[in-house]
Structures are given as C-alpha cells and as structure tokens.
Symmetry: C2
Subunit: 257 residues, 2 copies
C-alpha cells in the first residue's frame, strides 16, 4: 500500500468559497484535486484539516490524499506548484501513516486576525487586514485576550443558528501585539465554534476602542449571550496559521511571557 | 488665488495602466480626477511627479491640483478616501505655493524592487514581489549595487527604442538587504531612464544567481550595451517609494554605513 501524503498548503482565501466543494464557486478542495489529477493522471480524494469559510486565508492548511500510484516525494511539491493557480502554494510535502487523518488527529489550531489602524486606508493591506480609522489601544486588547485562555463554554462566541451542542473549548493561549500600524490577534485552541475567532476579534476591537472593558470578558463568556460580544469581523482578516498534531508543540508556539 | 494642494497617494499598480491617461485602460490620473470631481463638483487638472508604467506600484506618489473652490485642508483626505477605490489611498494632504510643480521641483526619487527566494511560491506575495526559486546571494547583490552609486552614463540600463539622448544620471545610494525570504533593492537618484530600475534589478538578480560578478558592473555601465545587463524585471515588483523635494532629505533616507 502506498503511504498517505500530507501536504501543507498556503492560500489566498479571496479566490475561493472556502475549503469544501460548493455549488456557488470554486473551492480549495476541488482546486487541489484538479492539480493532483494533472500530475497523477487520476483524481484522488483529498481530506482537509478543517472546513474553512469563504474568504478566510490560510498560511498553513493541512490535507491528505492517497496517491493513485507512487511518485518520488521530492517531485510532488514542484509538480503541484507548477500546475496550481497563484492563489495556492504547496509549502511542504511528507509521507504519513496510511491511517493518519488531518482533522481527527489534530490536537489544536492557531489562527491570527489582522487589523491595522491609522488615518488612511492602505491599498497594500486591502483584503489582508481590517482597517480601523481610530487608534486601537493594544494594551487593553492584550489584557482582554488573556481572559479567553483556559477551558470555557464559548457559546457566546458562536454565530446564531449554529447547531453545535457542546460549546466548551480549551484555548491554549491568546495574545494581541502591535507591529507599527498592524495589530495581530493570535489564538490557539483545541477547537473553535462557527465564527468564534471572528467574533472574538470583533469583541477585542470593541475593547481596543474603549466600548468594552477587558475585565468584562469573563462575564461576557459566562452570560453565553452573543449580543454582549462585538461584531463578527470580516473573513479577509482571518488566517489559519498552524495545525498542531502534537500537544508538545503548543509550548513552542505559545507567547513567551 | 487658492493655494495649490499637494497630495501624497499610495496605489496598487495592478489595477491601473500607470499614472498617465491612456486609451487602453484605467489610469491613476483619471481615477484621481474622478474622485476630485466628486468632492468639488468640478474636475480639476492634476499634475503628477512622474509617468509611472503600467503595473508599477507606488507607496508614495505626489500630485498637485488647484482646487476649484476652497475646502478646509483637513477635510480633503477623508473626503477623497471615501470616494476612491480601495486600490488608491490618499496618505497626506498639504498646501503648497501656487507655482509648485511635483515633477520639476523634485530633486530625486527612491524606488524599491522586491524579490523573494525559496522553494515554494507564496500566494500572499503574488503580484507584490518577484519569486526566485534559487537562493539569492544578497552579499554579492549588495556589493554590485554599490557600483551604481555616483554620476554615470546609464545608457546600458535603458530599454532599447527609448529616445532619451542624455543618459547621464546621478545615483545617490543603492543597497540590497534581506529580511527573511524577502530581498529589497532600494535605490535613489536624481532621475531614472525608461525601465532603468527594472533592468538594474534584473542585473542584480543575475549577480545573486552567480551569472554576473559584482566587479563586472563598472564595465557593464561603461560599455553602454543593454545586452550585457540582466533581464527587465516585471513591473509588479517595483515601487515608487519616495519623492525628494529637498536635497538635504536624501541623507535621511540613505543607508547608514
């Protein structure tokens, strides 16, 4: 039996309706299958690490497939990149055990949300980072983000209408940092509810603008009411940044405090 | 008489056929005029600091217009940004003397050319930076760039067919620096010939790949033969970064050595 192949890809979410095959547009999944079909001559199934929403970017998305026939491992990455559109790139390729599952074997994921503040919009950040005209207080945002850490019922941070029943998740770490005009919210956890990071990012935005106090976050979590949170931020500021397959790796990515 | 207004704008060159009004597509010039017409109710002429080519980006492009009627200076920037497409942003707005000319009064310009190297392309650099799969030797490129500095006849670094007769230009400084996978070539001078920076960037690329030695640059300049240079690099890696209106300002931007 051929070994299963694990690909780590990066993609610009603006070009896609998300990972999963949809009727209303081009998905990352089918684009990857098209590319694999071109290099193997037949079309393998591909399994992704998560269903990412339309417009969300990925700096590192993991997927697996069983190769229809053997191909030298070092040839796969350049072959795929030569047929993929510019909006997707294969960044790493490796063999894994044939029962490896990119979703079920993941122990966590890290997302980032990008904002920038300042008097004028920036054409080079358009579609990549959320513009806030008012200056954000990053110290307040960082203080608030810490309250997300740990095991909580995050029912408040889920889009209304979602049918998930178990809304308890563990957040490994959360931080907010400034780099010039750019503000990065980085969060890792064992799982995320529908729109959870985008609602958290919107809540932190309100904290940065002074409309919510950092100390209110605990009460907002406890009340489990979506209405207490900030707005759901647009997809284009959100990036899947890393998938953890080993819990020991979390420490390496966690902020040094 | 109303004071002349100087705008500093930033734009993504991918959306435009360059600064100047063209028949074959949308120019930055007419897009600015459209926006000014929307906020003033009549359409002023606009004068730019240079004719930038199709696809070239600008982090700072300067232009002037005479306002059809007075408008409070601090209102102009947000008013324009509210009507401009996302690909252009006004970053600064000031009053200048009514005889100020953004091109004739410029004493120099700074351009940057962006490359990145590495085994895989990056969707988030696509259209913003030139991808070279082989690792570039930046020390060699930096050494070569220094030979551009000073007053030289740069006839070799001009696209064939250009009708300019005086091809002597003074380069204030030139440097090449690495930041992770990203390599930045930064150059300032009193003027640039047609495609000069893109041909210089292509020549430095060949130096970084070992196909031209840094020490050969002087002879390449002296021979005045385009054929000795590297290729003309694509427009999307080139950015107009700054326009100098005061020669004393050059020192502030020059690399600290």
């Amino acid at each position: 039996m051929n070994k299963r192949i694990l690909l780590k890809i990066r993609y610009n979410g603006a070009s896609f309706v998300g990972w999963q095959v949809q009727k209303n547009g081009r998905s990352v999944q089918e684009t990857m299958q098209d590319a694999l079909e071109k290099i193997y001559g037949s079309r393998p199934d591909v399994t992704g690490c998560s269903r990412t929403d339309s417009g969300v970017h990925a700096l590192e998305y993991c997927l697996c497939y069983d190769p229809p026939h053997p191909m030298e491992i070092k040839r796969i990455l350049p072959a795929l990149n030569s047929v993929l559109p510019n909006a997707i790139s294969v960044r790493a390729c490796s063999e894994v055990e044939h029962d490896f599952h990119p979703r079920y074997h993941a122990v966590g994921k890290e997302y980032i949300y990008r904002y920038y503040d300042g008097y004028a919009p920036d054409p080079f950040r358009d579609g990549f980072s959320y513009h806030e005209k008012q200056i954000l207080n990053v110290e307040r945002m960082e203080k608030a983000a810490r309250y997300f850490e740990g095991k909580h019922d995050f029912g408040a941070f889920m889009s209304v209408g979602s049918k998930i029943e178990d809304t308890v998740r563990t957040i490994y770490y959360a931080e907010v940092k400034r780099d010039g005009e750019e503000i990065i919210f980085r969060i890792a956890g064992d799982g995320f509810l529908y729109n959870m990071v985008r609602i958290m990012a919107g809540t932190l935005l309100f904290v940065g603008l002074g409309r919510i106090d950092p100390e209110e976050i605990s009460a907002i979590i406890e009340a489990k009411d979506r209405a207490n949170c900030g707005k759901t931020m647009p997809a284009y500021g959100l990036y899947l940044n890393h998938v953890f397959y080993d819990i020991k790796e979390v420490e390496k990515y966690a902020p040094k405090r």
